[in-house]
Amino acid sequence: GESVGLHLPTLSVQEGDNSIINCAYSNSASDYFIWYKQESGKGPQFIIDIRSNMDKRQGQRVTVLLNKTVKHLSLQIAATQPGDSAVYFCAENYGTASKLTFGTGTRLQVTL
């Protein structure tokens, strides 16, 4: 079936370095993608989203890149901080108000 997956379950980076979290999706009809951050014991927190008519979108210290040719999504975090330690999920969606399909998540560990 359609799915969104992540390549790496755990990513360890040093404080101050840039982090890149990757995600592959399989539904070529998906037209909306979103990244969430989930800290232990909390619900997912919205980070950034992107529509399929774009290939890059920037936020505060975060950038999402979308490559529709190879159905790949990435989240870049600049100058990673200890507070960025969490599990990151990508999700995809088709249609205005419908379910998000999530991957299993990548744990980001920031070392000092």
Binding site: G43, T101, G103
Partner: protein, 115 residues
């Protein structure tokens, strides 16, 4: 403003009992979603409401699971005759349900433990 709220935050129940989980969406959000997150896993879609109707119930795992939404606001997820495999965090999300704004905002979840 207030975010999505859920209650209870934790629920421990015995196998075979029924449980009700509640979600209060963000005011003005017409779309409401329930997801389930098992330990160390991603989020699994359960059901979606637009107003009080549920156009997509495809994720409900069995007929023991049901949900309703009243007044276009509060939603209740009911699990009957709970089983141990129902143990998970149940997350609720809401959104404006508009073409231009598709972000779903999540509540803190209800951790359900079936003993």
């Amino acid at each position: 403003g207030a975010g999505v709220s859920q209650s209870p935050s934790n629920k421990v129940t015995e196998k075979g009992k029924d449980v009700e989980l509640r979600c209060d969406p963000i005011s003005g959000h017409t779309a409401l979603y329930w997801y389930r997150q098992s330990l160390g896993q991603g989020l699994e879609f359960l059901i979606y409401f637009q107003g009080n109707s549920a156009p997509d119930k495809s994720g409900l795992p069995s007929d023991r699971f049901s949900a309703e939404r009243t007044g276009g606001s509060v939603s209740t997820l009911t699990i009957q005759r709970t089983q141990q495999e129902d143990s998970a965090v149940y997350l609720c999300a809401s959104s404006f349900g508009l073409a231009g704004v598709r972000v779903q905002y999540f509540g803190p979840g209800t951790r359900l433990t079936v003993t």
